[in-house]
């Protein structure tokens, strides 16, 4: 193997112990790998364990069996070196900090000097110029997620982890944010793992889509997305996009006969 994958998940199983003492298998023998600079989406119905995969890569959980490596190292080592960027569905902005301070937070957490120019550049990149001094509660849901994404990018992380970042937004804002993220990502080209249940979002943003089944989570299909970058929003109206979208929606649906 001449190039090591940016993220390698090998034969990972994850079991949780429930309150009543019984065990629950969330993930069963999952393997996937991301090349450097690749944008991969985990697509699946809710409760399929896709967020658990992301949490394993983020070192927020440990696998029950198998290994997770990021750049050949344990994920916890990367988080210690402040080289992971993350955005959740809960924007997780600190309500007592303004937009600029929230974006600068990872510098302070890492004990580094705040690079004001970098913060200002990111505020411009995510289209929030003029809102530097606003508090999170004064922003709309979409604007909060822009802040969260800028914060995830501020330390130039090796790996960007996005867990349903637009899950709480309405459909129109969500499409707008997809287009924005595509533009932002094309400028940075950071290795990215996105978790979503939205087929259109997955198709428009990713290089590769990993479709998961639910309970326990298993990989059912891997789809390569052929659209060239940078992507024009117009591709969402193309026949190929619709065809792939129907195909993926079907792959997500439970097999006939099941409830």
């Amino acid at each position: 193997m001449d190039t090591q994958p940016a993220i390698a998940v090998r034969g990972v199983t994850k079991r949780f112990r429930l309150d009543d003492g019984s065990e629950f298998t969330a993930l069963d023998d999952i393997s996937l790998s991301l090349a450097e600079g690749e944008f991969v989406t985990l697509l699946g119905p809710s409760g399929c364990g896709k967020s658990t995969i992301l949490r394993l890569v983020a070192a927020l959980e440990a696998p029950s069996a198998g290994t997770v490596l990021v750049e050949g190292k344990a994920p916890a080592e990367l988080s210690r070196q402040h080289r992971l960027g993350v955005a959740f569905q809960d924007h997780a902005l600190l309500p007592w900090l303004d937009v600029a301070a929230n974006i600068a937070l990872p510098f302070r957490v890492a004990g580094q000097k705040v690079d004001e120019a970098r913060v200002a550049a990111l505020i411009r990149l995510v289209g929030l110029a003029g809102f530097e001094k606003a508090r999170p509660r004064q922003l709309s849901g979409g604007m909060r997620q822009r802040v969260a994404i800028a914060r995830a990018l501020v330390l130039k992380p090796d790996v960007l982890l996005l867990d349903e970042p637009f899950g709480a937004l309405d459909a129109v804002t969500r499409r707008q944010m997809n287009i924005e993220l595509q533009r932002i990502w094309t400028e940075q080209r950071t290795t990215t793992l996105l978790v979503t249940h939205d087929v259109g979002e997955a198709l428009f943003l990713s290089d590769r889509i990993v479709v998961l089944s639910g309970r326990p989570g298993r990989v059912v299909r891997v789809v390569d997305v052929p659209f060239a970058r940078p992507r024009d929003p117009a591709i969402m109206r193309s026949a190929l996009f619709h065809e792939m979208s129907d195909d993926l929606t079907e792959a997500l649906a439970p097999p006939a006969g099941a409830p």
Partner: protein, 248 residues
């Protein structure tokens, strides 16, 4: 004119009480030794401002110092329990019990232990302010914005930075609640302690005026204590409101 109507809209109750009191004293013709009127009380305040001022200064200084020390100690211990789950589990139920106990009833016990002097008044105020600060700050340090705990773990925050950048700021609204409770109690506790032990300050002024049947002076001391309590309550409420608005 607008300001006047606003004042009456919010203060009619207090004005009515004062008016009713003044009229009752005037019409029923009770002796001022039994029940002085609000006007009589004001005359007494004007007659000897130096006496009231020195007593007030002493009580306020003790209450304020006790408030600062008690809240600082309570906050400090809460931060220590934040570092250790064991310590938190051990001390939190004890703190909750003490915070829900009528601590004022402990004043006589503390007076016996520490002796009848000003340091005891201070110790009492410190102890009374300590418990709410400990309980509320302890809860606040763990009331984090949704997702922020995960965020700090992924960002690889050290324990120290998690405390300074996340837990401490997150605790500010709860800490402000504790401060409001403690501020209101600190004046009351200082005054009760001074009253019971007869040391000095407003509580003593009140007790000695009462035993001299100088009710106008006794009520003057009460009125000052009330004004200070109202002011500290308003100040602390304002801080609490500000913290709630800017921290959540």
């Amino acid at each position: 004119m607008k300001a006047m109507t606003r004042f009456f809209r919010s203060s009619w109750g207090i004005l009515a009480i004062l008016l009713f009191w003044q009229l009752w004293v005037g019409l029923s013709g009770v002796n001022s030794i039994v029940l002085p009127s609000p006007m009589g009380m004001l005359r007494s305040l004007a007659a000897d401002p130096a006496l009231y001022l020195s007593s007030t200064a002493q009580t306020v200084a003790l209450a304020a110092l006790g408030l600062v020390l008690g809240v600082a100690l309570g906050t400090g211990l809460a931060v220590l329990t934040w570092f250790s789950r064991f310590l938190a589990g051990l001390l939190t139920p004890l703190g909750i019990i003490f915070a829900s106990v009528p601590v004022v009833a402990l004043i006589p016990v503390l007076a016996r232990i520490f002796g009848y002097d000003m340091r005891t008044v201070l110790a009492i105020v410190v102890i009374i302010c300590f418990f709410p600060a400990f309980v509320f700050t302890g809860a606040g340090l763990r009331a984090l914005p949704p997702g922020s705990a995960d965020l700090f773990r992924v960002l690889g925050a050290s324990t120290w930075r998690r405390l300074v950048l996340l837990a401490l700021p997150a605790a500010v609204p709860d800490w402000a609640v504790a401060l409001r409770l403690a501020a209101a109690n600190s004046i009351l506790a200082a005054m009760v302690a001074e009253f019971l032990m007869g040391t000095s300050g407003l509580g003593y002024l009140f007790a000695s005026a009462r035993s001299d049947f100088d009710m106008e002076k006794a009520l003057g001391a009460s009125a000052i204590a009330t004004v200070i309590s109202v002011l500290s309550f308003l100040l602390a409420s304002r801080f609490e409101g500000w913290a709630g608005r800017n921290w959540r």
